[in-house]
Symmetry: C2
Subunit: 476 residues, 2 copies
């Protein structure tokens, strides 16, 4: 068994805290190639839970899973000009098989828009074939020189949805629907509140017409783009010549969307809920929901009996782990805390004499004595409460840290204090780049709420009248 | 909607039949790169069902899922000499990122033994850390110049289990346990009977000490290796220096296994159960178990009512699809057949007047009138029956086509007739190679039954006394 290391306090050094928590939680190992990570069971099982829940929701919307090849031919990736521009420097390139040089280069998918475009082209003839709603769960690669686990690593896991529709309205509506599906999922399962909005031109996906985004706030005040949904319009369908006969029997190009969420969300979970004691994983996606710890089981035969009774009873409804090791109680509790198990049940000699056990909430550290016969009911209620409280606390923090400013001087101050700053901004890509250079902040999104869209203001940079407000923040 | 094409009869041309069935079943498209395929929903959903069932069984055995990087560094793959020899010519090789040449070559995993070996090396110190039981669901690549969907394609999906133990006995037992787990899974879920055995030296996995295999017989008499489990002994642990302190506090190398099953099993399903009308998918892994077809719904309002009633009722327990289209009954039935849906419910005007519907078994084409109130019960029983019959029929065919021979002349005859031929054989790699050259057959396995192991015979090639019998067959 590995020893637990000291965790750097959040207040001391957030980046070091993050790495310490990951190490102690046994979430990853660094891969043999720079920029890669190994997802160990404690991390992968969070991803499995996320996948299972989302997959059911996708299927309810009529989305079907497929699997497309990992390799993209050279002539494909160059077909959509904006797209290739966005991804070229990070492309992992295959040139040989064994010792033999290939005629054309191949690329490991950084995303699969071009592969889906080609599949759609071959699949549709008539508007009656539309919409096609596909998804795949897979890994993608975008080369990174440095590694920040879950947030910045060369290979990551994700899902990528790809759809094609017979008209612009349906297509755009689908892209937006997926955004709201994500938002509900984030609230209900990940306990992460998010700001919903649209990306500026500079920040949108390479090849998209519009990119919609969910932006979450980490405990250090930085933004983390948590999922995106793109309305591609006819950008790819025109490049790839994806034509269908519409209901007027005329040729028309299809209208596409794509949307995705990746394992960087595990990073978001850690930085939204974790504390100085380690991980805190929301019950609904936690690999283990209840940790049952036996203390001094040699002191009373009732202890083992109680453990077995509760394990059997709780396993029917919850994901349970039992720790019967003879290690010190303090060590066992710390290990459970560090791994972020939302609820702990301590079973010790004194308690069992009174037919009780002690429930310990991971988030608040509050201990409650509970009669053994009531445990199942109380566990259920407490897990619900933890899930809700994690969300409410994160939401409170998010709302308290959004500030509205009107001028660039205040903007710079607030960004330096690590706030999300909402400001009137009508500038272009160059002005956005200048803001980033001067403050380190990027345009996270044009939010769908938080300001009165009818009210005219003046752009903090150009001073021109504008009705557009943009949220800026430093980000991961 | 795509038109249905003619399916070449099995008796006319098996290979063409196979491709026709796949095309009509809308299982795949060919990928843009030679050797690759796209798994469309009808195929991928079979794989999802297989995955869900096996994953539960793996977890019950204490195996935990992980995800390791796709790319293997050059110095890793060369560490185990036999292993690299086996895979070198098929290795897909990365040399560049963007325009920039990498210092060392990287390979897309053809399998991940070397990556797991490195992870194990970093994870274990003491025998108390063992065993470690890991698995991953992923894709792998082994370059192919030609494509035979599911059977021979550059990239395929699989699971690969990797375990490490503190002693040889536990490790070998684990490898064998997995073999029997597969065998039960094949029988209960895929309705595929298999021959269990051990590979000869020539046919074993590159780097294994022993390879255990499941060999299935396709409808053309050829063998398909359906899953393998390898006892790696200390081959990788010595190359990678995976040491632990044993209970005597001495350094010892770990004992490893690996085991896997891939999407080629979809090919096995097709070639074990399919017929001249198309696919037949066993109910337990069928994406759709019951097809409800409405015929002439304009003729009676009772038809739509019955459809809705049955859809609601059956969906609770079975995977159901409803076809309310106004296409011709013959076309609708043919489409359901071609897709291999195990059970069909025809709802037509005459039947509903008698409060009946017609159940049609995909495998036997037998039609049964069933009272609407009895449908759920009869569907359940019929699906069970279909599952069982598919297995029994395949088993009968397998057993009828195994022949035992003693001499090489008869051997050649029987191989030419596409039998599985069990023969006394004690030859080495060279003699096996000669048999392959002369007959096209390879040693499938040394079976665990089918012959009396105590009885001495004479090798059909060397004429030396031997107690070893080997099954030879042509194979995929």
């Amino acid at each position: 068994m590995k020893k637990l290391d000291k965790i750097t306090p959040i207040s001391e050094n957030f980046a070091r805290w993050y790495v310490d928590v990951i190490k102690n939680g046994e979430l990853i190992e660094y891969g043999p190639i720079k920029g890669t990570i190994i997802f160990k069971p404690n991390a992968f099982e969070i991803w499995e839970n996320i996948k299972t829940i989302l997959d059911i929701q996708f299927k309810k919307k009529g989305i079907r899973n497929v699997y497309l090849p990992t390799l993209i031919p050279d002539f494909f990736i160059k077909t959509e000009k904006e797209h290739i521009k966005g991804f070229a420097p990070e492309l992992v390139t295959v040139t040989h098989v064994g010792e033999k040089k290939l005629h054309d280069k191949l690329y490991i998918r950084p995303t699969s828009e071009v592969l889906f475009a080609d599949l759609f082209k071959r699949s549709i003839n008539s508007y009656k074939d539309l919409p096609i709603l596909y998804n795949q769960w897979t890994s993608v690669m975008r080369w990174e020189k440095t590694t920040n686990p879950f947030l910045r690593n060369t290979e990551f896991l994700w899902h990528e949805g790809h759809t094609i529709h017979s008209n612009a309205a349906d297509s755009r509506k689908f892209a937006k629907d997926m955004l709201w599906l994500y938002k509900r999922f984030f609230k209900q399962y990940l306990a992460i509140p998010v700001i919903v909005g649209k990306k500026t031109n500079r920040e949108k996906f390479a090849g998209a017409f519009s990119t919609y985004t969910l932006e979450a706030m980490m405990k250090d005040g930085k933004a983390l783009q948590s999922a995106t949904s793109h309305y591609l319009a006819q950008n790819f369908s025109k490049s790839f010549k994806i034509r269908f006969k519409n209901d007027q029997n005329e040729d028309e190009f299809g209208y596409q969307t794509s949307f995705g969420l990746s394992t960087r969300i595990i990073g978001a979970l850690i930085m939204t809920h974790g504390d100085d004691y380690g991980l805190i994983i929301p019950p609904k996606v936690a690999p283990i929901q209840v940790d049952i710890l036996e203390f001094f089981s040699d002191k009373s035969p009732k202890i083992a009996k109680t453990t077995n009774f509760l394990e059997k009873k709780l396993s029917k409804k919850f994901r349970v782990r039992v720790d019967k090791s003879d290690e010190q109680p303090g060590f066992k509790s710390a290990r459970s805390e560090i791994r972020g198990v939302p609820l702990r049940i301590d079973i010790g000699p004194k308690d069992v004499e009174n037919d009780e056990v002690t429930l310990v909430r991971r988030d608040t550290h509050v201990k409650t004595k509970v009669k053994i016969t009531d445990v199942k009911k109380v566990v259920f209620e407490t897990l619900e409460k933890i899930q809700k409280d994690l969300y409410e606390n994160a939401k409170k923090r998010l709302y308290e840290n959004i500030v509205i400013v009107k001028d660039y001087e205040t903007f710079k101050e607030k960004i330096a204090e690590n706030h999300f700053v909402l400001a009137p901004f009508s500038g272009d890509d160059h002005e956005e780049a200048r803001i980033q250079e001067e403050t380190g902040a990027t345009a996270r999104c044009i939010p769908s709420k938080f300001y009165d869209k009818s009210q005219e203001s003046f752009c903090m940079i150009t001073k021109k009248p504008t009705r557009r407000f943009v949220i800026f923040a430093k980000s991961y």
